[in-house]
């Protein structure tokens, strides 16, 4: 890759530095400027439990559906990763790229129908 292509990224680095500096300075400012409590009690710092304070949770669990959603996301996100380059060159490559595009989506449609029939797209708790 020519080094000149990296020149485009210099303004982004400068801007990114400021984008990092603003939240960092706000966090630091909240440490310096924040009021301190006069007394400390353990009850104040245990997690919020809407009424019944039983202390921190021993183990945290959540439903398996979240995991399933994450797996589906990976499948479809990879699809997008493959579709973007083809989409970018579609005009230049013409019907060849279109055939690739259609073929890829056809394969994906089979997987999508399978996932739908299996009921993975329904939210179950």
């Amino acid at each position: 890759m020519p080094l000149a292509a990296l020149d485009d990224w210099f303004p982004f680095l400068v801007y990114g530095f400021f984008a990092l500096a603003i939240p960092a300075s706000l966090i630091a400012g909240s440490f310096i400027l924040a009021t301190r409590p006069k007394t400390t009690a353990r009850q104040r710092t245990i997690p919020f439990e809407s009424g019944v304070s039983v202390g921190p949770p021993k183990q945290q669990r959540f439903t398996i559906s979240f995991y399933l959603t994450a797996m589906l996301f990976i499948v479809f996100d990879i699809e997008i990763v493959f579709l973007y380059p083809v989409a970018l060159w579609l005009d230049a490559l013409g019907s060849f790229a279109l055939a690739e595009f259609g073929f890829f989506i056809a394969i994906l449609a089979i997987a999508y129908v399978y996932v739908w029939k299996k009921g993975a797209l329904d939210w179950r708790t």
Binding site: V14, G16, A19, L26, R36, P47, F73, I105
Partner: protein
């Protein structure tokens, strides 16, 4: 675009400094506008005590958030708990850098461009930063070791990844028509041909709906459904750390509106008025719609949200991309 522009490094520095402060100011007055508009839509006045029309309210809010006790839950994981809101704010701010807000100006010998960075993968960069932003929500909720936080962050992550698929697919049509991932090139293409809102109307609809879900705005504000989850992933956050999460949320909304303007409504292009003003007007219109939706629509149920994302938006976005591909390749 030609890269032989006469741009010394200090122009980039000054421009970055000005733009990032403008984005922060836009965020501050976005909160003011939201409260004011919501107030008017609910037959109230909204904030009207600090300054004329409550215009100093954002500054008062900043001082209050900074002065609030840096509360720290007993079981929280120190570094992650503190770093997560900063990461959320960073990704939200950084994503704005590739959105063009004006044309090219010639000042003396120098050339000043109306964008911070014109990288060849601008659109992907925004999605990538948004994906890192998901980590901030996930890690923040997990690190505070509270049931509500954990459930809220899981919900947030599941919702964001579900709608990110539709969001990324809905702009595929724009990429096909614009023949570039650089937002500057896409705006130039629109000025040469037509605003992509007309040929990509379905894409715009999917993009907008998925975008509302991506920014956790009503009616998709399930991550913060206060009746079920108290406050979602930021239940254990207060003070400036909570403020950074809310900053991230508003700036995400601004960036997403800017992206919608750039991709579908010709960016900064428009007759008579200068480019940045057009950009600001279109941006304001989008933000108004965001706030209007919040005042109008009730929240969805979680299974409805997931079903809508996977069974409606995703096929529609894919079909839109396919039809666009066929039309562009054959015509």
């Amino acid at each position: 675009m030609d890269s032989g522009l006469n741009q010394p490094w200090w122009i980039d520095l000054i421009k970055a400094l000005i733009v990032i402060n403008l984005v922060m100011a836009a965020f501050a007055y976005c909160t003011w506008l939201e409260r004011k508009l919501l107030g008017r839509m609910q037959l109230r006045y909204g904030p009207n005590r600090a300054g004329p029309f409550g215009l100093l309210q954002p500054i008062a809010d900043l001082v209050k958030l900074l002065r609030k006790e840096s509360f720290f839950p007993a079981n929280a994981i120190d570094l992650l708990y503190i770093a997560a809101p900063a990461v959320a704010c960073f990704t939200a701010l950084a994503a704005f850098s590739v959105i063009p807000f004006g044309g090219v100006w010639h000042v003396g010998d120098y050339v000043i461009t109306g964008w911070i960075a014109n990288v060849s993968i601008g659109l992907l960069l925004i999605f990538a930063l948004g994906a890192i932003g998901i980590y901030a929500f996930l890690v923040g909720g997990w690190a505070s070791e509270s049931k509500y936080s954990l459930l809220g962050s899981m919900r947030t992550a599941a919702q964001l990844v579900s709608y990110e698929v539709s969001l990324a697919l809905s702009v595929l049509g724009v990429v096909i028509m614009g023949k570039s991932l650089s937002l500057v090139d896409i705006v130039a293409e629109q000025q040469a041909t037509i605003w992509f809102a007309a040929p990509q109307f379905v894409g715009l609809l999917v993009f907008f709906v998925a975008g509302i879900a991506e920014t956790n705005r009503p009616p998709f504000d399930l991550p913060e459904a206060e009746q079920e989850l108290v406050a979602g992933y930021h239940t254990e956050y207060s003070g400036m750390r909570f403020g950074l999460y809310s900053t991230a949320e508003y700036i995400n909304m601004i960036t997403l509106s800017g992206l919608a303007v750039t991709l579908f409504f010709g960016g900064w292009g428009g007759p008579w008025l200068p480019g940045p003003l057009w950009f600001l007007l279109k941006l304001g219109a989008f933000i108004f719609v965001f706030i209007w939706l919040r005042a109008t629509l009730p929240r969805l149920r979680y299974d409805q949200l997931m079903r809508f994302g996977w069974k409606v938006l995703l096929p529609v976005a894919t079909l839109n991309a396919l039809v666009t591909a066929i039309l562009v390749a054959l015509l």
